[in-house]
């Protein structure tokens, strides 16, 4: 490692550390998964232990967009807009099978995976995922945030490129 890089690396690490322990989430709760989201946030599982216990209902202030529950085609533009309104750096967690792939609602009304609309960082499958899965997903997100760094680009989105077709 070059000497000039030393400071940058340290800074990256410090900022990554701060970001991963201060996750203000925007819960975009639509459906069944919301119940497990609640369970995760409440006393038994307590997501606040990871520093993610402060949901912000303004996308401007949120760091992580938790998309919780099925997204229908009617809802898709709203989701996209919320994502656009968020301030950088931002991450997206797809919570539950419906947001990951559309689940068993393979029909005219639902979006087959939100990664067709917005990039997704962490997928938490399950219908709905148990709180333990959610905590696991959150820890994976923390690792990802730590690796992101202050200047570095986001690690490549694990999704198909969003192609806007009207």
């Amino acid at each position: 490692m070059s000497e000039a890089g030393f400071f940058t690396t340290r800074l990256d690490e410090a900022v990554g550390w701060a970001r991963k322990f201060s996750i203000f989430q925007y819960p975009f709760v639509t459906a069944c998964c919301g119940m497990e989201y609640m369970a995760t946030a409440c006393s038994h599982y307590d997501v606040d232990r990871f520093g993610a216990g402060l949901p912000r209902f303004s996308p401007r202030q949120a760091d992580v967009l938790f998309v919780v529950g099925t997204i229908s085609h009617k809802m898709a533009p709203v989701l996209k807009r919320i994502y656009d309104q968020m301030a950088e750096p931002k991450w997206v967690v797809a919570f539950g099978v419906c947001t990951c792939t559309g689940g068993f609602y393979d029909n005219y009304a639902t979006v087959m995976g939100i990664d067709t609309i917005i990039p997704v960082d962490v997928y938490i499958p399950g219908c709905p995922p148990r709180p333990e899965y959610v905590l696991d997903g959150l820890m994976k997100l923390q690792v990802k945030i730590q690796e992101h760094g202050v200047s570095g680009a986001r690690s490549a989105p694990e999704s198909r490129p969003a192609e806007l077709v009207r």
């Binding site: 701060a18 322990f21 201060s22 232990r49 520093g51 760091d63 301030a87």
Partner: protein, 366 residues
């Protein structure tokens, strides 16, 4: 010349102590609040952030929050007034901070022939000054609401305006009782006036003389800090709040203001009603207990005890506010107005009149 320099240095030191204490307490406040709510709610609360493996019971989480907010993108919504949008949070924090200048946090310290007042700024009208600053702080909220070009923020701003105006009146009139009793608006003098005991054992604190004023003050002051049950301008679940369009550190500044104001109100309540830095039975040369025992203490110990006593009282008040925050639901707009104008305002006026009459009858001594 050197005299002036020393004077300035001492003043700076005092200001620094106050500033340092307040800012740290504000940081700590978030941590206490998180932990305290966790205890109320059968949770553990934030505890994962660690440096070199030290978790310190989650004490590092506020630090993480602060660093993160500094590195977050700052957004100004299209159509918003850029200047005002930026000014608003600065306004808020600035006025909340400068208000602390009037708070005495200890008795005077005598170093040789130099007398150091443990109060950042010695102002004769400290009480009025603090109120003025509190009122100006509202402009931050109003500006934030109006500059954001967002209906929710606008509603928040409107609510804040109405709430502040109505409660400041009750707050002011409640305090007049205290001012009449102690005959001054200088906070240091008010605190000094609270030294000594009634009948030898009840401390001569404001709450003993003005119990009604205390409860009016506490309620109105709670409203002033915009916390539950008076958090209408924020109202998370109804209107997201006047800061809905703020991101990054600008939002952080509003966040900070919230805590600063809580601490300020706790300081005021302590100063006005709980004897400020007074310790029961302690006068400048030592403890004089009601049963006649005397425990002499040195001057330094005396001052330090005063500062400690002040801090503990402030913390107790902060804790009380948190306890209320996690227990009660929120008022509605009209109920808030009713409580302010039909409840607190008449009570405080009546309290003022009764105080005046009693003072007249007793010849001006409490």
């Amino acid at each position: 010349m050197t005299d002036v320099m020393t004077e300035v240095a001492i003043k700076l030191a005092v200001v620094f102590v106050m500033f340092f204490g307040v800012m740290n307490l504000a940081g700590l406040h978030t941590w206490i609040e998180r932990k305290q709510s966790a205890i109320i709610q059968d949770r553990i609360g934030a505890n994962r952030a660690s440096i070199f493996g030290f978790r310190l019971m989650g004490l590092l989480h506020p630090l993480a929050d602060a660093v993160k907010m500094f590195t977050k993108e700052d957004l100004v919504p299209a159509g918003a007034d850029k200047v005002l949008h930026t000014l608003a949070p600065a306004f808020s924090v600035f006025f909340a901070l400068v208000a602390f200048a009037g708070i005495p946090f200890g008795d005077r310290l005598v170093l040789g022939d130099r007398i150091i007042e443990l109060q950042p700024a010695k102002i004769d009208i400290a009480l009025l000054y603090i109120f003025a600053m509190l009122s100006l702080g509202v402009y931050g909220v109003i500006l934030a609401g109006f500059a954001s070009r967002n209906n929710y923020a606008m509603l928040g701003g409107l609510r804040a305006t109405a709430q502040m105006i109505s409660y400041e009146i009750a707050l002011g009139i409640a305090i007049i009782g205290i001012v009449m009793v102690y005959g001054t608006t200088d906070l240091q003098e008010i605190v000094r006036g609270q030294g000594g005991n009634y009948w030898g054992w009840i401390p001569r604190w404001g709450i003993v003389v003005q119990p009604v004023a205390f409860f009016v003050f506490l309620t109105a002051a709670l409203a002033e800090t915009k916390r539950i049950p008076f958090d209408l301008p924020e109202g998370e679940s109804e209107i997201i709040g006047y800061f809905v369009e703020y991101s990054g550190m600008k939002f952080g500044m509003f966040f900070l203001t919230d805590f600063l104001e809580t601490i300020l109100v706790a300081c005021l309540a302590t100063t006005l009603f709980f004897g400020g830095w007074q310790v029961p039975y302690l006068i400048s040369d030592g403890f004089h207990f009601p049963w006649g025992a005397v425990l002499p203490v040195s001057q330094w110990t005396y001052v330090l005890l005063g500062v400690t006593s002040f801090s503990i009282k402030v913390l107790v008040f902060c804790f009380l506010f948190m306890q209320i925050r996690w227990t009660l639901p929120r008022f509605r707009y009209d109920q808030l107005m009713n409580l302010g104008w039909l409840g607190l305002f008449p009570i405080s006026v009546a309290n003022m009149l009764v105080t005046a009459v009693v003072l007249q009858l007793t010849g001006g001594r409490p």
